[in-house]
């Protein structure tokens, strides 16, 4: 089967975000970057599906040229091909990103080589738009479900599971389909040394479709106001136990 997986380069989770002076971007000089966590799992899932069912995998991203780092990382894990839609570093909104990916997928599918499955992360760690995969699926006329934590391929369909507050729900999507996954679907592997060496020399295809910005224009970033917090220290070590249990009684928990 042919599997495509779309990723986004984001600052490493937990990093301290410093805003540039004009507030329109983040100061990248002190940051390390990674693949958005849900998408790390999407990459792992693409590799596992191809290991199990045969075929090939392709990783795509829309981002600044430095995003090649995330594409090569995916290839070091076992993804076969990589495609970059280069930007000038400014953030594209969800409509523009979806349009660029859709045009690129159509280009890659010319000649009838359709992707059986196109994987996304549920939402990017930074922008959290929750919509790029759905827009792409809609334009391509393919079924899409988000929030997925398990994928099985059987009888030309993807049987997928989504966690709910009270258990889980199952969908059966006829292929070709689009699925947005969540962290927890798998535990991503680490690259091997031969994988790293291979990915360094691998070719990265560039796709530069003509897209227009959508209707959500980012103006600037703001740091949220720091909430003044007054921590009440209940004590040190085991001697604090009575004060803690007092609190449980006060809150009606015991």
């Amino acid at each position: 089967m042919r599997v495509a997986v779309c990723v986004k380069r984001v600052p490493a989770p937990g990093a301290t975000i410093v805003l540039a002076a004009d507030g329109r971007s983040i100061d990248a000089r002190m940051l390390s970057f990674t693949t958005s966590p849900h998408e790390e799992c999407a990459v792992e899932e693409a590799i596992r599906l191809v290991e199990k069912h045969g075929g090939s995998s392709t990783v795509l991203t829309v981002g600044q040229p430095e995003s090649e780092e995330q594409l090569r990382y995916a290839m070091s894990l076992g993804v076969d091909k990589a495609v970059l839609v280069p930007t000038d570093g400014s953030e594209w909104d969800a409509q523009a990103t979806a349009a660029a990916l859709t045009a690129t997928i159509r280009f890659l599918e010319e000649g009838g080589q359709v992707f059986d499955l196109i994987l996304f992360g549920n939402e990017s760690a930074d922008a959290g738009n929750y919509q790029v995969g759905i827009r792409l699926a809609r334009t391509l006329g393919r079924p899409v479900v988000t929030g997925i934590k398990a994928i099985e391929i059987a009888d030309e369909a993807a049987v997928v599971r989504r966690a709910t507050s009270g258990g889980s729900e199952i969908y059966r999507l006829p292929l070709p389909a689009v699925v947005a996954v969540k962290e927890g679907i798998n535990l991503p592997r680490y690259p091997t040394m031969p994988g790293r060496l291979r990915s360094k020399k691998a070719e990265i295809v560039r796709s530069e479709p003509d897209v227009r910005p959508g209707g959500l224009e980012m103006l600037r970033f703001l740091n949220p106001p720091q909430q003044a917090s007054q921590t009440l220290i209940l004590g040190r070590g085991p001697e604090a136990a009575p004060a803690v249990v007092d609190l449980f009684f006060e809150m009606g928990l015991l």
């Binding site: 937990g14 959290g128 929750y130 809609r138 889980s168 070590g237 604090a240």
Partner: protein
């Protein structure tokens, strides 16, 4: 007109939907609500909706939107709310601003949350209609008053069953992270999978659930379904106990909606300790047994 899409359970709008109603009220226009099944002013009625079907919901909302021509459609910023609103946006080919906390209706400049809320974004939203979802646990819930109820029957292609739930597996028993009043959560400081048995004991005594940080699931000590944080479950319990959790931002944004936070940590400078309501400075492996013993002593009658 502003159309508000409410998610319901047994005819009652969810709390997060009522929070989105609060933001919709701030937009200063005539308001009408819609629901799948009873609950709203416009009840969308079709046999497709005996089960959750995101693509069909988006299509039905698009038809209702074309019929009512609202200036704005507002939905809850839940996973399913964002999903259905994204379908609506894709069908209408207009922008969707997710996780919005505030709108200036004069300029349509809005504030939305990035990084789960650790960074804010000011953005300008255009579109006809304008679509947005409301960030969870930021605004209070509004009372929901149902006006005159109308029924809306969409025309849906049978093809849309392709993305409808085919089977539902209910979790048996147990208190879930999403509904627990108390969450006893452990981080790197717990040290091992076995270390969580004490947390389970405390959770059982308090009638709560066990949670954990991302380090813990990455180490394989707990299943991912226990993970609290930006990429796990977002929780809002009455009390959140953070045991050996330093409080990295991606964890914090998943539990900052808790009413009270109690941190137990060896490091008095850990972000979780400085941001908590209550803290105990000490090793959880010594503090937790003392707490369990104290509970035992004071509840024995």
């Amino acid at each position: 007109m502003i159309l508000v899409y409410l998610e319901t359970a047994a005819g009652t709008p969810s709390d997060l939907s009522l929070q989105s109603l609060t933001l919709a009220r701030s937009l200063g226009d005539e308001l009408t609500t819609t629901t799948f099944g009873p609950g709203g002013d416009w009840v969308i009625d079709h046999q497709m909706f005996s089960e959750y079907a995101p693509e069909a919901r988006g299509e039905a909302l698009a038809q209702l939107t074309r019929s009512l021509t609202p200036a704005v459609v507002v939905g809850p910023g839940t996973d399913t709310g964002n999903e259905v609103m994204a379908h609506l946006a894709a069908i209408l080919d207009v922008a969707l601003a997710t996780n919005v906390t505030e709108v200036d209706v004069a300029t349509w400049e809005l504030t939305r949350l990035r990084w789960g809320g650790s960074l804010w974004e000011r953005a300008r939203l255009t579109g006809s209609p304008r679509l947005l979802t409301v960030a969870p646990h930021v605004l209070p819930a509004s009372d929901h008053l149902v006006g005159e109820v109308s029924r809306f029957v969409p025309e849906l292609d049978d093809l849309l069953v392709r993305t409808r739930v085919v089977e539902r597996v209910e979790q048996t028993g147990g208190i879930t992270l999403g509904t627990a009043r108390v969450i006893v959560s452990g981080g790197r400081g717990v040290g091992s999978a076995d270390g969580f048995s004490m947390l389970e004991e405390l959770a059982a005594r308090l009638g709560g659930a066990v949670g954990c940080s991302r380090v813990v699931t990455n180490n394989g000590w707990r299943p991912h379904s226990d993970q609290v944080g930006q990429t796990g479950t977002r929780v809002a319990p009455d009390l959140y106990l953070a045991l050996g959790i330093s409080g990295a931002i991606q964890h914090w944004v998943g539990m900052m909606a808790a009413k009270k936070i109690l941190a137990i940590n060896t490091d008095p400078e850990a972000p979780m300790v400085t941001k908590a309501d209550y803290a105990v400075i000490g090793d959880l492996h010594q503090v937790l047994p003392a707490i369990l013993a104290e509970i035992e002593a004071r509840t024995r009658t």
